[in-house]
């Protein structure tokens, strides 16, 4: 084939361009550690990576939700445990307040139970990050409103919250709640902590009744009615402590799964996105060598023509 002067020059330029394009691609891969950057690099891989990244971000948010619920559950546990402690003492007093105690002893017990009632109401109206934690979803107002007499003694407590709880997603289509209802007198749904018609618990009112019976010296009523009632309250607190523990365990287990899933997703993303650095460096060196060889051979041939030999 006849070779014109421009043929060699043009093909040399084309070859250098190809070599430089290859070097640039490999250099970018080596510098970024990625073989996938733009949609045109690998459309199918791009689609997979975008979907996996969306899943990864969602997974991270599930873990954040779990952390938030764990904090709420911890706060709720604090209130439950405090109420349980009060319940323990109230139970002790109900046991001690028998016929052997003097009216002064019973009066002293009554004063103590009065204090327990105020503590219990305070605990029942615990707030977490500005919300009342035992009000159901009516978190804007104190769930337990106490009625007091002229001496400041609590004579009745009414529940102002509702019987709904808020759920959050901790995994795809899996929700959990860290809320505990303060009271549920509907007979169905989540169990109330202070008052629950299903279990017979009505802690605050049972405390008020106990105090009243102590003040009246009615030890028979304390033994026959108050003590059994407080036992139901105690059982209800134990139920909620157990439920809280179960929730914490569920959240921890789910979080562990989410963490493992996050690692798995990162691995899958890496397969499509990341370049094999060792292979990339090797290919880059090979491309550089080829480029260097092309330059060297081209420049030596470019300088040659018949003009070098005409005199």
């Amino acid at each position: 084939m006849r070779v014109a002067t421009s043929t060699f020059n043009n093909e040399f330029i084309d070859q250098l361009n190809l070599l430089q394009q290859n070097q640039l691609r490999l250099q970018n891969q080596a510098a970024t550690g990625q073989k996938l950057t733009l949609p045109e690099d690998d459309p199918a891989a791009m689609q997979r990576v975008l979907n996996l990244q969306a899943e990864s971000l969602a997974n991270t948010q599930y873990q954040n939700n779990i952390a938030a619920l764990q904090n709420q559950a911890t706060s709720t546990y604090g209130a439950i445990n405090g109420l349980k402690t009060i319940s323990d003492r109230a139970g002790e007093i109900a046991t001690l307040a028998d016929g052997t105690k003097s009216p002064q002893d019973l009066a002293a017990y009554a004063t103590e139970v009065n204090g327990l009632i105020q503590q219990a109401v305070q605990l029942a109206n615990t707030k977490y990050q500005g919300d009342y934690i035992l009000a159901g979803t009516a978190t804007g107002a104190a769930p337990f409103v106490a009625t007091t007499d002229s001496s400041g003694n609590v004579t009745a407590v009414t529940y102002q919250g509702n019987t709904s709880v808020a759920h959050s997603e901790i995994a795809p289509n899996v929700t959990a709640t860290a809320q505990t209802l303060g009271a549920n007198t509907t007979g169905s749904g989540p169990r109330g902590l202070i008052t629950d018609s299903g279990s017979g618990a009505d802690f605050l009112n049972h405390l008020i009744t106990l105090r009243n019976d102590l003040q009246a010296g009615n030890t028979a009523a304390i033994a026959a009615t108050d003590h059994p009632a407080l036992s139901k309250d105690e059982d209800n607190f134990l139920f909620h402590i157990s439920a809280n523990g179960t929730l914490q365990a569920q959240l921890t287990a789910t979080n562990n799964l989410a963490a493992q899933h996050s690692t798995d997703l990162d691995g899958q993303i890496s397969q499509d996105r990341d370049a094999d650095i060792a292979q990339t460096i090797t290919q880059l060196k090979s491309a550089q060598t080829a480029y260097s060889a092309a330059l060297q051979s081209g420049s030596s041939i470019l300088n040659l023509s018949i003009l070098n030999y005409l005199h």
Partner: protein, 465 residues
């Protein structure tokens, strides 16, 4: 016998012939770097013979023509290939601009920190999720508002950039039409010059080179059909409509609005829309009304469904003050999507609760968060993220396919160019060899004249004596 004077004439004509050969060689060497130049050569032929008693006797050499070494088949193939490449290159450039406008790329080593719409969508649903754990938190609501505004702004910017690509394509079409008309005028003018020059005898090689260059430039813009005429002119038609006939330009290209801002091309005089099958004009129209339009439609559908689905859920919720009925997003598509200004001004008006008077209820927030995993019928029964990633992959596939086609056609073009160069290109080595050949022949002819001159002098000296 032609006699001494005949030999002198023979020598003189030989000198002229070798000189012409040298001139043509000089022309070739001068144009060695001219990509449009086809090498020329002098066609030498023996001069008219005379009859002598001892047979036919030659009378020397004469230059009969200066020929251009050109392969018409290769020229046509290159014209066609240029047209195809022009279309593909225009589409490739436009879609790469669209890819940049979309702004979706994988960067960094983690899923977080990405900047595109994919991350924006994920962040929005993550913000809804976060709100479910703290529905009364004004801080969390503010984060949701900012995240939603960020996503809306991303949609607006992507829409604007894709519109810019669309408008730039329309501008390119108009510029290409202007260039095309200029080239048609140039070709008609060159036809005229060639016809007049060749009517006087010979071929107008340099004008033919220039016209071929113009034809190839025009082919890059649009599919053309060129028909050589006996008088040396070339008729040019585009899309079946004659644009140049003989020495006149009979029609030109014109853009027109086919409706809805769709710029197309027609023949100005004939008024008929042109069927373009290749060239950059066809490529720009193809990509504008094809892949780019599809991308814009998909992005708008995504934004529209996001607005519709989120608002439908949000409107039924209750805010921290018990208010209801407000939309979350405003607008109808990617260009106009925004966040309700009332919510921006007062995040407590985000209607996250499913019940009035229950600020801690997060039913609506949870439904909004779970929208991320819902298959949306209007998006092909895909989730928002799946639909978007499919759109991105579709764009990537279009560009990847074009990249392969451009590479393939560049290879073909390179092969054709190499073949044409092997036929028409100037080789310095070859021309220098020819130059030496003509030089030696010139020297020999000059020596012949000197010898005959001495012989004449001898004869004249005989008379003197």
């Amino acid at each position: 016998m032609i006699g001494l004077f005949g030999i002198l004439k023979m020598g003189a004509e030989s000198l002229a012939a070798q000189q012409l050969g040298t001139e043509v060689t000089g022309q070739n060497l001068a144009n060695v770097d001219n990509p449009a130049y086809a090498r020329q050569r002098v066609l030498l032929q023996t001069a008219t013979t005379i009859q002598t008693p001892i047979g036919q006797q030659g009378t020397g050499v004469t230059a009969v023509s200066i020929q251009q070494v050109r392969d018409a088949l290769l020229d046509n193939q290159i014209k066609s290939e240029t047209s195809v490449t022009g279309s593909l290159a225009a589409q490739q450039l436009a879609l790469q601009n669209a890819e940049a406008g979309l702004g979706e790329q994988i960067s960094g080593t983690s899923a977080t920190g990405q900047d595109g719409l994919s991350a924006g969508l994920s962040n929005l649903f993550s913000a809804f999720q976060a709100l479910t754990t703290a529905p009364t938190s004004l801080a969390q609501r503010q984060v949701l508002i900012q995240t939603a505004q960020g996503l809306a702004t991303q949609f607006n910017q992507v829409s604007s950039r894709l519109s810019d690509v669309h408008n730039a394509l329309n501008t390119s079409i108009q510029n290409d039409v202007t260039s095309g008309n200029q080239l048609l005028g140039d070709i008609a003018s060159l036809n005229k010059q060639i016809v007049y020059a060749e009517a006087a005898g010979g071929t107008a090689n340099d004008l033919v080179d220039l016209r071929q260059q113009k034809l190839e430039a025009l082919a890059k813009l649009s599919n053309i059909t060129s028909t050589a005429q006996p008088n040396g002119s070339v008729d040019v038609s585009i899309g079946g409509v004659t644009m140049v006939s003989g020495i006149s330009q009979v029609d030109s290209l014109q853009t027109y609005d086919a409706g809805g801002g769709q710029i197309l091309v027609r023949a100005q005089t004939a008024g008929t829309p042109l069927t373009l099958t290749s060239g950059s004009i066809e490529g720009e129209i193809n990509v504008r009304d094809g892949a780019l339009a599809t991308l814009q439609t998909n992005i708008n559908s995504l934004a529209a469904q996001l607005i519709t689905q989120v608002n439908a859920i949000h409107a039924g919720g209750f805010d921290l003050n018990g208010g209801t009925g407000q939309s979350f997003f405003t607008g109808t598509d990617a260009a106009t999507i925004g966040v309700n200004s009332a919510l921006v001004a007062d995040p407590s008006q985000i209607q996250a609760s499913g019940a009035a008077g229950a600020a801690g209820d997060n039913t609506v927030a949870l439904a909004l968060a779970q929208l991320a995993n819902n298959n949306i019928a209007a998006l092909g029964n895909q989730t928002f993220s799946q639909n978007y990633s499919q759109t991105v992959a579709g764009l990537g596939q279009s560009i990847s396919s074009l990249n392969d086609q451009v590479t393939n056609h560049d290879t073909v073009m390179s092969m054709l160019s190499t073949q044409r160069s092997s036929v028409s290109g100037v080789s310095i080595d070859e021309e220098m060899t020819n130059l030496m050949q003509y030089q030696k022949a010139y020297q020999a002819s000059a020596q012949l004249i000197t010898t005959v001159n001495e012989m004449l002098a001898t004869i004249i000296a005989m008379k003197t004596v």
